[in-house]
Amino acid sequence: MGLKVENLTVYYQTLRGDVRALEHASFQLADGEIMGLAGESGCGKPPLGHSLIVLFPPMKYIAGRVEVDGEEIPIWDAEGMNTYRFRKISLIPQYAMNAMNPIRKIGKMIGELLEARGVDYKDMLPELKRRLDLVSLPHEVLNMYPIELSGGMKQRMVMVISSLLNPSLLIADEITSALDVATQKAVAEMLVEFRERQFINNLIVITHDISILYQIADSILIMYAGVLAEKAPTKSIIESPRHPYTRLLISSLPEVGVRFAEKRLMGIPGNPPLLLNPPAGCRFRERCPLAYERCLEEPPFIEVDKDHFVACWKEYENHAQAR
């Protein structure tokens, strides 16, 4: 059944007004699909990922619905969401290095968290140990404090905790940014393994590192300035991107498999628009080499090929002609 997001719109409240961080996002994930979420910094990756599980102020829900396995998820209800968090939707946070209470032994912390969620720690312990084995962590870590673990160990520990209750959707937020290349690869592969073993159904990997996505993602969603630009199977995004932004993004990478850092794309002139009061129409218009008058309207996010969605008038017209 997977994940279904419809017209999701989330703003950030600031003193200067609402920042329109995410608008009209609609997409679906098939069963077992691992999706990468990529784009420049400030494009709206975190708002999309976070709004599915931790929609707290200053984030503000505006519109849209989210379904997981056919069940509607009340993402706007900060309290009511607690039922779904951890069990249905879970998060591996960007700050995994500091995600665990520094003054509790890890096992005790997990125990208290599970008990608070109505799960018996003792019942869970054998499974917890199996999963520690799976990510090659010794069982002793349960008897240690977080500072006694290395960065890679903490990352794996948090992965195990976040996926412990077999959530349908797991969101991994920039998991690899704090790790060295070898550890990154191992961690990414473990996440795929989690899916293979059906600990999780869907996985959304938020990253600015496309090489990781190339290794593990089934599909990639590209965002630009708070709106969806393109979503397609990984191979299509890398080899035959359709959105002018994706093309520039991909071609600006020296070759696939090389990371690009969190910086503005040098290859594309101009900057993304400010989201406090973004221009009407296609938000990439001002930087787009192909822009024409129709781009003053907002382009729809349509399926131009099987599982290949694009928000671009040029592609829309090509598609209409082809039909």
Binding site: Q13, T14, L15, P57, P58
Partner: protein
């Protein structure tokens, strides 16, 4: 430019800062011009009838000995501001000197200064002050400022040291080092300006702390020997039966003034903190 106008905007909008500085200003004005509104010297025996409640002649009443409380009060306020300014200022200065040196030099210098700071931090300031003060026959207000400043610096030094540590590794400091700048100039030109807001906060807290310490010293009779102060007023009030005789006009004003001034300083501190650290601003 944009940043400056933003700070100004938040400054004018910040109630805590405005109320705090308003109270300070009122008392400061009172301390400056108050003494010219009374013809009595603080220790003159102005009223032959001894203790009198507030009246048109004696705005705050008189003491057990018939001294004018208003005159004592405004002159005491002066001493309070002097102690806050000089004692707090000296404490900040010494704290800066030790904090910057320890934080910037690091290594063995830091180890020694840090151990020294910790030692002075553990010793109860008042105990040291009282043993010094007790042996001095004549004590002036300036001496009191000096003692307070020289014993109040440790926590300022600790805070500044920690800040310097984090600034020391920043790019602009590296750049200055590479360009052959002298350490003192780096601290003065590169580090201190970046900590300006922090130093202001430290100074405000030292100011308040100095006032409270001075009040304590004065109250146990180790304050300046030749002037009046708010702490001394309270000591006299307690020693000469203001409580059993219900002479509230004698002991309420000095304590109230200290509380208001120090409380206003804390309020300013919180307000300024909100202005300097955008994270703390309420949305």
């Amino acid at each position: 430019m944009k940043k400056r106008s933003e700070v100004l905007y938040f400054t004018l909008r910040n109630k805590k800062l405005l109320i705090g500085s308003g109270i300070i200003l009122i008392f400061l004005i009172l301390a400056l011009i108050g003494p010219s509104f009374t013809q009595y010297k603080p220790l003159d025996y102005a009223s032959p009838r001894g203790a009198e409640p507030p009246s048109a002649k004696f705005w705050m009443g008189t003491t057990f000995f018939g001294q004018d409380v208003f005159s004592q009060f405004v002159n005491g306020l002066r001493a309070t501001f002097v102690v806050g300014l000089l004692g707090g200022g000296l404490g900040t200065l010494v704290g800066m000197l030790i904090g910057f040196t320890a934080g910037y030099r690091g290594g063995i210098v830091d180890e020694i200064l840090n151990a020294f700071t910790n030692i002075v931090l553990v010793i109860p300031t008042l105990a040291v002050l009282l043993i010094i003060a007790a042996y001095l026959q004549v004590r002036s207000l300036m001496m009191e400022c000096l003692f307070i400043g020289l014993t109040a610096w440790p926590w300022a030094a600790r805070a500044i040291r920690a800040q310097t540590f984090s600034l020391r590794t920043r790019d602009f400091v590296d750049l200055a080092k590479l360009s052959g700048m002298k350490p003192l100039r780096i601290i003065r030109d590169e580090i201190a300006p970046n900590m300006m807001s922090y130093l202001v906060l430290v100074f405000i807290l030292q100011f308040g702390g100095a006032i409270l310490t001075a009040a304590t010293l004065d109250f146990i009779g180790l304050g300046p020997t030749n002037t009046i102060s708010l702490g001394l007023m309270m000591q006299y009030a307690v020693l000469w039966g203001a409580l059993p005789f219900g002479m509230w006009w004698w002991f309420v004003p000095p304590g109230l003034a200290i509380t208001a001034i120090v409380g206003a300083l804390y309020s300013m501190n919180v307000g300024l903190d909100e202005i300097f650290n955008p994270k703390l601003r309420e949305i």
